[in-house]
Symmetry: C2
Subunit: 263 residues, 2 copies
């Protein structure tokens, strides 16, 4: 048997988008129109549209229509400095992203107490159920939701410090830890990829079919784990990078030259 109708339709739509016939931000024909144009039922059209939405290629907005998604990829180059202290006066988030030429902002700071889940406890070297301090915030680039971060601290480390204030700490939390006798000497990153929860999908503004990149970073002092940071990024607009050793042969920055055409 040949390809099913809904996949043929999906491929035709994909071709129109790839060819630039439909451009990012454009509205695609309504489901009724597509059904008529291809001589299939609306349900079949929906199978095709859903498939493309699940790849993050298009996005439906109830009551309005279906549009070609525009995605810009931001590369996060994770510096390999074991101390984690950023070079300038700003925190790592701002210094990393400003180098990428985008405008980073943070909002919705919150600080709360929680019980450590097994996942958190294992990484912080504490017992499941122990109390932990959680700092969380949302991060935007150029005004659009981009990632959501939660940092877990053992109570003894965070209590009584600036870390308890539900506000931005412009110089960065790593400096605060250091000032309080918990200098970071190393860290371990774990990177996962999964489908978003409904919460995440809502916040990130990505259609439910777009995966998320999840970064677990455990920071260590010489004595103990001092922090676990879990950050969830929109998968289709984020890329991580690590540079090891001598990469001077890489030449120009490269990645920045994607399609900046402004002045």
């Amino acid at each position: 048997m040949p390809e099913p109708l809904y996949r043929q339709l999906a491929e035709r739509l994909r071709a129109r988008i790839d060819a630039g016939d439909l451009r990012p931000g454009d509205q695609i024909p309504s489901e009724a129109e597509l059904g008529e144009e291809f001589g299939v039922s609306r349900n079949t059209v929906r199978l095709a549209v859903t498939a493309l939405a699940n790849e993050g290629l298009i996005e439906s907005r109830a009551g309005r229509g279906t549009f070609v998604r525009q995605r810009r990829t931001v590369t996060v180059l994770h510096p390999l400095d074991p101390s984690g202290v950023p070079p300038g006066p700003k925190d790592a988030f701002k210094s990393t992203l400003e180098r990428e030429g985008v405008k980073p902002t943070q909002e919705n700071f919150r600080v709360e107490f929680r019980r450590a889940t097994a996942e958190v406890a294992a990484r912080l070297g504490i017992e499941e159920g122990d109390r932990v301090v959680v700092r969380r915030m949302d991060r935007l680039v150029d005004g659009e939701p981009w990632s959501r971060q939660e940092s877990f601290y053992p109570v003894e480390i965070a209590e009584g410090t600036e870390l308890m204030s539900p506000d931005d700490i412009p110089r960065g939390t790593i400096r605060v830890l250091k000032e309080n006798g918990h200098a970071q000497v190393g860290f371990r990153d774990e990177i996962n990829c999964r489908m978003p929860t409904r919460d995440e999908s809502g916040f990130l503004g990505s259609p439910p079919g777009v995966p998320v990149l999840e970064l677990f970073r455990v920071a260590y002092s010489e004595e103990r784990p001092i922090r676990l940071t879990i950050t969830v990024y929109a998968g289709d607009s984020t890329q991580f990078a690590y540079e090891v050793g001598d990469v001077s042969a890489r030449g120009e920055t490269g990645r920045g030259s994607r399609d900046r055409e402004d002045g």
Copy 2:
């Protein structure tokens, strides 16, 4: 309005799985049975089942039934040695995974010439359309498909070397490069996350809703980029890790103690 029916159904099914009522490998009730049990049409059941399949929680096999997926996560700890030469006599893939306690195998080795795409050319510092040598293979852990790798070499580097042979090179390709005067002194990793193509989804044996983790690694000698390796991993059974600086406070290996219960 309350939650739509298909989402209620999806949540009930998810609850059964989370509770251990339905265990990995188990077959879930057929679509007809679920429709009768919940008093909804088969199409509505399919919406629920599709949603869970898109999260990688269950998997449908035509003609047979729908089953709870079993997933095991393999952690790839990327060593930060700039030379890339693995410690033992084996290549990096085998030495990394054997440390994880699983059995790595490789198959379907192929070597071919191709024209560099823009993506490849930019990373190798060559011109789009230049000829490149591509070595590719499939990788399995414990006999199950796990990742597919393609390595791109500028022709001048690969031609006339052992790299042209479509076979495993047990001591690792990095050693071969070094023997031919292209010692690696650094590398850059770029990590993406996206939905699989149909090919990939087929090979990896993951339902089409499970994302893939994609690793671009560019290796550099002192003079130039010598290789680009693109590896695509099943997203729901792979995790990357990087350890920087002193992480001795991490204590025991941790990650290995998941649920090994053999003796």
